[in-house]
Amino acid sequence: MYKYDEYDQQMVDVRVEEFRDQVRRRLSGELTEDQFKPLRLQNGLYLQLHAYMLRVAVPYGTLSSVQMRLLGDIADKYDRGYGHFTTRQNIQYNWIKLEDTPDILAELAKVEMHAIQTSGNCIRNISSDQFAGAAADEIIDPRPYAELLRQWSSFHPEFLVLPRKFKICVIASDTDRAAMRLHDIGIKMVKNDAGEIGAQFYAGGGMGRTPMIAPMIREFVPLDQLITFSEACLRVYNRYGRRDNKYKARIKILVHELGRDEYVRQVEEEFAHLLTQPIEPPLAELERIKAHFADPAFEAGLSEELDLSDPDFRLWVGRNTQAHKQAGYVVATISLKPVGGIPGDATADQIRLMADLGRDYSFDELRVTHAQNIVLPHVRKADLYTVWKALDDAGLATANLDTVGDIIACPGLDYCSLANARSIPVAQKISERFGSAERQAQIGELKLKISGCINACGHHHAGHIGILGVDKKGLENYQLLFGGSEGADTSLAKIIGPGFTEDGVVDAVEKATEVYLANKQGEERFLDTYRRIGMDPFKEAIYG
């Protein structure tokens, strides 16, 4: 994985000192809260319901064991012993003190981490495929391109005060595991007819109150124009994105209002101009970065054998592991969704344990997924049982990846100052209702996603089943949506009818699974059955 050189290190060190200085000016009263807020946000520091919240970036979701271990240590030392992994592959701490923040950032900088641009109206952390570099189906590892973009977007002087936040995602396989087309810019690395690698650009996707699927804006951007093209996309947005209404300020609204073709025309015009400016790093820089992502020293000729005589292990292997590009290895996902647990939360001890497993059994690498789980990307099949045992002992071996128990949920009204309703208790009740392994196996893949408000941090628009918490005259109420997907077949979920109470929505989800099981044909997933039979049978069962 990428290692900082002296320049990268200096950039994060300078940022720590800059933020220390900003905190000093805030505490001394030189800066009012109104002045400080945009500055602290660009360092990932929010004011949430109970305290300050710090969001630490995990660029493209990749972590070393030392970094992961520090995340656990920070949870103990500066927070209340746990952290929350987010749908943007980051980690959040819920109980941070302002005066501690510069020290936390300094500790992070020592292990090449930061909280730069994890909030605010700027280019955010670049997300990617959690199986990058390990997946059998990728055409190339997308992370070097994400790292190139990370450096370009860090403190880009022209794009620090955009109309609104800006999220970029880079993937490199047909199976989209990162909701690429639901980003402000989605980039898919592709191979053209000549066999050259390039970047396919999508723009104007997003969730929030106006969910949109990004249209393709350019089929192929050559690698030596990647930054220039990105800069053109951003400049057009910075100049013409709406600033009169924060709910209409995302690039998706600009692309929608201009129309895809007009946005493309403007970008191409700006791109043609910017090509005259020497702003593109040489390909040698990309090669330098790529060298950091060379495959670890995989052993050749390993056995594919796996002893599955332990039934619990067999269940977990079937559910939580994926094919690896290297024979004898697997990609193992650690579910942070125990039955009745808080989706995405992990204790400091669990974080450190995962760090140790990453160090000992996965070439020192871990990944954070947008579904709020952790991945050990390169585990030898021969080690898998040992790994599973250790996870099981720590309550981390729930075998429910991509099932109804593997719920994405935002922090909701338990933590978030924007939320209208609580998300976590709904997730807990649903995962308990479907707690039995047999039942989850019977239902199979069912992606359920819960947001506590219209901002959609819980990706409810992209859920096979989505749940949106709303405030109905001071009471929590939950709308139910069906038919969303964040995969290669991206679609937006539709609201099925009037909302429910907390218990009512759990019952409704259960009825929906019954309709699915009664109508399922062959190997259909819930989503396939829904797409085939439509909403009516579900409505009928739920509303009677």
Partner: protein, 98 residues
């Protein structure tokens, strides 16, 4: 009644105006009547609090209960982590929140 809430600048902790200072306990809240804005201006000015605002609440036998669930969760703590609430709590205390 109308009560005042905000956050402590250094720690971010949720605080409530008692009439003479800021407390972590919502039950110590004073009724500020129409004086909320003036108190906020003064207290934010000297950095005793930030992000302060006025909240509707009711005086009950059990103490002061903010009108909106969001403010009750702020006063209570996360409902899903009873080990981390403002005061030691048990499941039955959730009735106060919800």
């Amino acid at each position: 009644m109308k009560i005042l809430t905000g956050n402590d600048l250094k720690t971010g902790a949720v605080t409530w105006w008692t009439g003479v200072g800021w407390s972590l306990d919502v039950n110590e809240s004073a009724d500020v009547g129409e004086h909320g804005a003036a108190i906020i201006a003064r207290e934010e000015g000297v950095q005793n609090v930030f992000a302060a605002y006025v909240v509707d609440a009711a005086k009950t036998d059990e103490g002061v209960r903010p009108g909106h669930i969001k403010e009750r969760i702020r006063a209570f703590g996360p409902t899903v982590r009873l080990d981390l609430t403002v005061k030691p709590s048990e499941a039955s205390d959730l009735n106060w929140v919800i």
